[in-house]
Point group: C2
Chain length 500, copies 2
């Protein structure tokens, strides 16, 4: 969930000063429109990492808008009175009325997450509570509530830096307590649990908005933009939200994306490549014949911009495999038969049995990439797609599949170079079409879609591997190594026992 919020988003102070008054005026306008219509309440959840600017943002929202129509609630330990009622009682008491704004500082997520991190509640109960939250939020949205869920994030080094910086500043030193440092020690466990909670509750109708918190200017403007976006969607709409009326979060205001922030300079000399290729292919060949792997299947996904090197990499992988046990599934436009079925049907057909490998050359991620960018489906469709994909991959993993996903990342310059080369090389002509040139023009849209995709579908059981592929030799080796490592880790952890 946090990949795009660890790339050092920031904007100039000057830029902030220029844009802030406009944002502020627009927010105030939208707030009054919400109030005048009095048809929908707005609930803002403020959650995140300590030190990521939650408090500052809450204050800012109150400053930017008319605080008379905003009710900010912070939740401490349960009072005796609250403890004697169902958990959700305290939240029901503070829901804002139609037309009004409620800012919940800490929310219905805080307690389940802490109880699980502290080991007071096991995974099953945690899952159940997240499920109850999904249903609760679904009800709120069906009843017309606009729900904006903020997660303010800091990477581990950024969190450490932030605490140190505050401590050095006499005016702010009080903000950092011993408890903060104590909690910081558990950063990794905490983030793992939060990441799971966010992924499980990031639904089409109430997605999480993750905001990188390190740079105050970026954080404030971004949070304000998200809020404005949701508010404007709310006041422009019918009184009741419907499934199709999802407010898609706007692009990052500093224009920085996960892909653009990636290091594309890594390369490998051919000699070294050849040695490594040989040894990795041997390693993979052995692994693929390891009896422990017979109780698993292998599902490998290749995605990437055109000319990212998917095909040639797949060949390097399959060279190590036994043709009786793998299948490459090239995914192009759906057939008529596939079009007559729910979206994921065409991929379920190719789910391999245990001991077998399916390699997808493009995949179900088309839903949140090409279908999103080309508007082949509605916003609501691809917004719910993340959740459906996560569920699909979880089911695969639970049934014994090792799910490995690669994004073959290249720069626009390298793509252009490869396109030109294809044009100039007769036997590569077939590899370049007008459509490739058209897609290239939509690079920024794809880049944004890829960022959202990685954020929302990189999970413990099916993480994304972004592979810098400007150098083909480097990327092939990376892919082979990753693949071997994922297999080794999984079979090393004991073979899957099958479903029954």
């Amino acid at each position: 969930m946090f990949e795009s919020a660890e790339i050092g988003h920031r904007i100039d102070r000057k830029d902030y000063k220029q844009r802030e008054p406009e944002l502020r005026a627009a927010l105030l306008d939208a707030q009054y429109a919400l109030l005048a219509q009095a048809k929908r309440p707005l609930v803002i959840l403020v959650n995140g990492v300590d030190g990521a600017g939650k408090g500052e943002t809450v204050n800012l929202f109150n400053e930017w808008m008319d605080p008379r129509h905003i009710r900010t609630e912070a939740f401490g330990p349960w009072s005796e009175d609250e403890r004697q009622r169902p958990e959700m009682f305290r939240f029901w008491q503070v829901l804002p009325a139609k037309g009004r704004i409620g800012i919940l500082f800490g929310s219905w997520y805080t307690d389940p997450i802490l109880a699980h991190v502290m080991g007071q509640e096991k995974k099953a109960r945690f899952g159940q509570r997240l499920e109850e939250i999904r249903q609760f939020e679904r009800m709120l949205v069906a009843e017309g509530t606009v729900l904006v869920k903020f997660w303010f994030h800091l990477s581990k080094p950024a969190a450490r830096d932030r605490f140190r910086m505050l401590e050095r500043d006499p005016k702010n030193a009080w903000r950092v307590t011993k408890d903060d440092w104590e909690r910081f020690k558990h950063y990794d466990e905490f983030i793992t649990v939060c990441e799971h909670a966010l992924r499980k509750t990031s639904t089409g109708e109430a997605p999480w908005l993750v905001v990188e918190g390190a740079d105050p200017a970026y954080r404030s403007l971004t949070a304000g933009q998200h809020l404005l976006h949701a508010l404007q969607a709310a006041v422009g709409e019918a009184p009741k939200a419907d499934a199709a009326a999802v407010a898609v979060p706007p692009a990052a205001i500093d224009g920085k994306t996960l892909l653009a922030s990636f290091d594309y300079t890594r390369a490998l000399p051919r000699k070294k490549y050849e040695n490594e290729l040989e040894s990795l292919q041997a390693r993979l060949a052995n692994l693929s014949r390891d009896p422990r792997l017979a109780r698993h299947s292998l599902v490998v996904v290749f995605e990437g911009m055109d000319a990212g090197g998917k095909g040639s990499t797949i060949r390097r992988v399959t060279q190590a495999l036994d043709a009786r046990h793998y299948r490459v599934v090239p995914v192009a436009a759906p057939t008529d038969e596939e079009r007559a079925q729910p979206y994921l049907w065409r991929f379920w057909r190719h789910v391999p049995r245990l001991g077998h490998t399916a390699i997808f050359d493009r995949s179900w991620y088309g839903r949140v990439l090409v279908e999103r960018v080309e508007k082949f489906c509605s916003e609501a469709d691809w917004m719910r797609g993340y959740d459906e994909i996560n569920s699909f991959e979880e089911q695969l993993a639970r049934a014994g599949a090792i799910v490995v996903k690669f994004w073959m990342a290249i720069t626009p310059d390298e793509q252009l170079r490869r396109f030109e080369e294809r044009k100039a090389t007769p036997h590569k002509h077939f590899k370049i079409t007008d459509e490739d040139w058209r897609n290239r023009k939509k690079w920024p849209l794809y880049e944004r879609a890829v960022g959202d995709m990685v954020d929302r579908t990189s999970s413990d059981v099916a993480p994304w591997h972004i592979v810098g592929s400007d150098d083909k030799l480097f990327s092939r080796i990376e892919v082979l190594r990753h693949l071997c490592e994922r297999i080794e880790v999984t079979i090393g952890n004991g073979a899957h026992q099958g479903r029954k």
Copy 2:
């Protein structure tokens, strides 16, 4: 879930013969329209009690419609091939294409229910699987699938009768196996688990349709009507289902309702009433002061037709309680403030703390009674209401509340008598308004709504008690006795330990 399917629904063979050809023709028309539009697939799930006519209905559907466009699938033990993939794999393989009909005889419910009944899977895992089913079905509906979920039901005595009857008939004796009788021994456990599964997965967008299976004519016509209804809704609609396009199940074709089938003749002589009243009020007074009850709260709901005796019964209850510890919450039209909030908000405000009692004179059931009948909310709103109410009451129970719900059931004749009496008695004038007369005209609509309500919201933790109230004395005693018994059972089972 099964209350309305245990009241002996039946129709004449003659009536059946008259109505069947028309139904059949309409079904065929609708099937062809579905096929011609080729926009939505129809999935029919066939589940239920052994002997309730599942197989017969599946055959009939194939006979009534054009079987070339229907694919019927039965699911036996998992094949080796299926076992090596995720559970849902086998179901994905047989989903019908747009325009087509798939009948799934046994379904994604069968395995979770059996695994839990057999004790192979614990409650937590069972809950998780039901949750996955909810999400899967939600995806199907979002993708345009029309989902018709049938449960064919037989009460325990009806199941026994049915087996015996089949055995006596040489032509059908083969249908009853030793296994059937073996399974019949576990009828109660099986039904408890199924009831839970159905309630948990009866959502606004994919509600269960429970059909009483004892009378073949009733069963067949009812199933056919349900199917026709769903088909017609599907072909009249936009290609994608939206939350508001729920097909509300039609009324029972024999006109028989849960309320109309109730025994209203029970009465109590005044002398006996007075003795019992005294002793029950004393019992309740003692219970309400029992220290074990201090770790619980008591939430009592009174619903019923106008003049059902709610008010006078509530007084008999409160006479036994300490005024410092109970509150009667009369529920009328919502205030402005309440109208500006999600529907359940006005009830959450009155959730009592531990050791306290809240008595609701009408309640959150207004959503599925008056709001449904008077069309104060959309169909989608009250259809999702059952689920939201179940979740609300579960939360109450989990936090220590004893939830007791009474439906004060009177006949239309008795209501009329009471209305006339109120009109004729000066000091009762205020109790009768024009609205009461208007509501009375809608008796059949309310009767149907009450049947659905009891079916869909009577749960282990919050069962409905239908109390025959034509005789006021009898009904007051019934209510007091029930209330005492529920409290005794609960505190006898050990006091609730509070949330934390």
